[in-house]
Amino acid sequence: MTSVPRYAHGSRVPGWDEAVDLDKDPASVPEPATTPVPDDLRAEIEGYVARYPDRRSAAIPALWAVQRRYGWCAPEGVTQAAEVLRLTPAYLMAVATFYDMLETRPVGRNTVYVCTNISCSLCGADELLARIQREVGDDSDFNVRGFECLGACDIAPMASVNGTYVGPIALDEVPELVAQVRAGEEPLPARQLRGRASVDPGADRPAPGEAGAGA
């Protein structure tokens, strides 16, 4: 098959060009007798299953569990989750590829999402992303991604560093931030969202009908 030209700004997606491997067996619902599942993974997924009236609802929590265990939604883990949920692995893969946070290719274990949506970009998010990418370089321990609005425009420009919201991040703080992540330390503790007080000047007064509040 001769190759066809691709367009840099076309939407080229991994997968579009992939044929199946005709030597593989079809991927039906995994047979329990031949699909070993680690006990703790099975127990965790069964725990999620118990929360819902329908087993399938545990699909996303189960994929999270797989991602925590394997670092990404690895085919092996997805197959194991499919066995527990009695679904096909294709079902779970369809779900996993729909959601931005579920990784369907191997990635670095430190996740840095930089919000590049409107509000953050008005405050320099694109530059921040570029700066972080430069600082991280080709360190395969990192998974740095520009992300849609993370719901923290009040601390723009910001990033979610392994789930912790940090911002505003000045460009010159980036080396420190990356070093902290490398060292397994808290990222920019003073800039974390969890320590931030409300900007609303009236927020320190009690509501009508509420017993004496006061901070």
Binding site: G10, D17, E18, V20, T97
Partner: protein, 803 residues
Amino acid sequence: MPRPERRDITFTIDGREVTAPENTMLVDAAKLGDVEIPVFCYEPKLGNPVGACRMCLVEIEGIPKLQTGCSTPVKDGMVVHTQTDRVKEAQQGVVEFLLINHPLDCPVCDKGGECPLQDISFGWGAGTSRFIEPKRHFTKPLELSPVIAIDRERCIMCYRCVRFSQEISEDYQLVLLERGAHSYVGTFDGHPYVAPFSGNIVELCPVGALTSRPYRFRARPWDIEGAGSLCTLCPGQCNVHFTVRDDKVMRVLSRQNDGVDDGWLCDRGRFAYQAIHVDERITAPMVRDGGELREVSWERALDEAAGALRRARGSIRALAGGGATNEEAFLLEGLLASLDCTALESRPAGGPSPALAAALAHPSLQAAVPDIDYAHAVLVLDTELVDDMPILDLRVRKGVRRNGVKLAVATSRPSSLDPNAAAIARFAPGAAEAFVAALDAALLGDGSGASVDELAALAGTTAAEVGAVADLLKSAGGDEQAGDVVVVHGERATSGPRADHAAKALLNVAARLALAGREGAGLLEVPSSANGRGLREVGFAGGAELPDAPTAVYLLRTDPLRDAPDRSAWDRRLGRATTVIVHAAFLTEGVREHASVVFPAESYAEQDGTVTHPDGRIQRLRPAITLQGDNRYGWQILAELSRRLGHEAGAVLTAPQAWQRLTEALPAYAGITLDEIGGRGVRWPERNASAADEADLGPFALERPPAPLSPNGALRLGTYRTIWDAPEVEASPALRYVLGDGHVELSPVDARRLGIADGERVVVASGADSAEAVVALREAVRAGSAFVSGNALAGPGVEVRKA
């Protein structure tokens, strides 16, 4: 779920008043007023509409936004417009959107000329595009499976293929991956989409994104002719369209008949047409000469056969199967009767007496295929539908998924319908009689009969499992009422030496559930051969004394070495017979080893005649192509033989004449003309119900079933045939990929004990017979049983050891 009631309403569309059943979707209702609303994603056979493509937008007075006609049920007094500027703008918009990333490579597209995207762009598009950005290009076509190619550039994301995989065949292998404009149709981790019904997605795809690899670039739509007929590769008898070019079958498409197939086909039916045009096919008569089969002239073959039959008078045994038509069976029956032979059978494993068989198939007890849609409960008994009558597997799934039919599965081998079942009973291989007797006792429930515990134990199951099935059936109708129950039973359940007892037990179950005369309920047998029911009705019903060592054996489209469970008995019988006359399309083992005279059997695309569906629907096979090679019609051969043997009644001149004579001879078929059968068939149990003899429908006092034969410490053998077990499949190049080593299915418990692993090659031995097989572990297989595909072994016990 009760069948919906139909009520007609009147609505207005483009100024016309139209009457339509209430709640029909607008696009369908519009057709009744000759208004066409274009659709892509809407396909009623796929279930609820998804409203994704937005092609069908229409204006409805009183609703501000345009609405999708595919998902709007029509109501009385609705006023609909499809020709307004707003609607046109929206339609042109959708066409424009769909084409922006479509490659417009129609000149090199296999779908060209029969493509809904072309037609709708022509009819409803603006004719121009304002999209000047570069289009996306990808490698294409890619393999999606050995039989399907995918061209992702052309896909318009209509969801049809993935809905089929997810909601019809429920294999859930084909999915949409990624999101938004990046979405694409694919499978898990590069696995091929291989499933028994996968080919339907080719027919569903409204563009050239999914194409049949065997058909790609074999013909242009204007070079081909369509010929409506049937597929007789299994008892499903799906209605098909043969695509014919230059007198060759190039493709098989579904010809939707909701009474039979709902518009689907299995991959055997869709791709095994290739066997019609392969060199291996027998297309000239042959005679054994000096130990070798040699091609001879028709005259010689007919003379030899006639002579042999004449000499064997009184000692002939005939077995019919495969796609033998009613006419062929009728002519052979008459011919052999003139030679004092009535040893005619069509059940290779033996069956109940003709009277009991007729009782099981009695019009008052006969369920029709569509009854499954709205039954309260369905019991699948001793059959794996996806293998034995694939199309019915989809039907059962549909009932469960869409209408809440409660499903009970009672089989020895784990069934692919288990996940859909509300109750499952697993009995020991061969213990169907004991299971049904136990079910009967449980349904009776007053302890007056034999104890459920004891019978369940004889069946190798538990009273709890039997009870679960009984409870489900008893109360499916709500308020502790049985309601409409359909029992789909495999031929195997009532076969073997104790077939009469099993048949009585089954009739008892029907009686306990009050199925007789009940609308929408009843029994439905899955015969082992495509026209099993017709053959029996015409006279191949067993019954008469069957000589164990006949002088001559007549095999009409069947090879017992392939089809019969007691292979070795038949091997001996054929070996001892002086003459074996066969009608066969392929030189299968029994033909090769034992035939004295071979008549080429024309393929189902060439056949002219009728067959009878398991639910009593008489359907018609019409020749789609002329006879291939030196073939003659089966009825013609039998007429020739009749003429030679002086049996004038059988010397018909045409197939319709044979049908005419058959309807005169058989009250059940009386008066049914070929015209009446037409393209949809006629169910004689509905039309001629009164023609059926009075039958004794029980309840009977049951004899205690014997304890099952002990496997003597070995594993108990169960056999099965996969959907792919057919000479036509083996001869079809496109289906080579399904052929492989036979499997032995074991429970992990036994495998551990035997130190055998999944995928390991083993020897499975039973007495003097043995076979190699690959181990497939299945959690759901009960410990103590082993399931082997094919009929190489007979059991009851088998040893499994490393090869």
